[in-house]
Symmetry: C2
Subunit: 170 residues, 2 copies
């Protein structure tokens, strides 16, 4: 659908239908992440696809809300700061931004497929590291369930554009 409509349709889904996500839909969601831009095209991110079935208790250590494991899948996006572009002038590392772009593409592609997501940053990083077996050099950036929504969009609250946009300079 048109991007404006897609952006308006996306919301943080906090109740999921347990029915499976079709492989071809998952493939299109992952492909959108693969095509995402990253600094110098280094793609310093990895996506972990986590089926929730039988693994609920372990996954709830990462994020404790019951709806986190209601969907058939959870996706984790991790950054690889050792493989990413660094800005020379101040040493800034692009890994987290690059992983974020990939996750945003995932969230939007899922919406196009009629699937629900919820961007979760409030996970437990130590539990994530432990449950997923992440090496030290891998940084978990965001999680989302991936499944069919079983709730309705809440009313959308956003600041007016005038609060967010400036012209010419700060």
């Amino acid at each position: 659908m048109e991007f404006q409509k897609l952006v308006g349709k996306r919301y943080s889904v906090r109740a999921y239908d347990p029915r499976p996500v079709e492989e071809e839909r998952l493939a299109r969601v992952l492909e959108a992440a693969r095509l995402a831009p990253t600094a110098c095209n280094l793609q310093p991110f990895r996506i972990i696809v986590l089926p929730t079935k039988g693994r609920e208790k372990e996954l709830l250590r990462i994020y404790g809300r019951p709806w986190f494991v209601q969907a058939p899948l959870v996706l984790a996006v991790c950054a690889l700061p050792d493989e990413s572009w660094k800005r020379k002038s101040d040493g800034w590392n692009a890994a987290e931004v690059d992983a974020t772009i990939a996750m945003d593409h995932i969230i939007l592609a899922a919406t196009e497929e009629g699937l629900g997501t919820c961007w979760i940053a409030a996970f437990d990083p130590d539990a994530a590291r432990d449950v997923l077996g992440l090496p030290r050099a891998v940084v978990p950036v965001a999680f989302t369930p991936l499944g069919y929504p079983a709730d309705s969009p809440p009313p959308r609250k956003r600041r007016p554009l005038a609060d967010l946009v400036r012209r010419d300079r700060w």
Copy 2:
């Protein structure tokens, strides 16, 4: 257009037509950023809309490639780490991720409008701070020109999905 197609159409535009960006297109691009998800919906980002005309020399201090100022507009997305959500367990600050999501929405909304962008992280942070008059607490995260493309998409190179996706755990 369909999101898969949109993602495939987006590329880093490095030559721009000087013709103006219509106000209604700019408004839709900014609206997509306004609707972007942010941690706890705090929207800790600001967008600065910079007309390039007559200001080329100053803007080139931020990023020196001539095409940076070829488009009629440059957009800057800044993060506000003092106004963002912080993760209690490790103090991680969501501001940069939130600003990145806003910029990704901008880039994709621009593509839908037929406009070109190029995500620039390799800017000079000190020059950005100086030229834009940014207070200390405001962090420039990304810049992009915004205008009609005057080049063609280069061949797309990406790692295969098998390099980027893992199943079940790391």
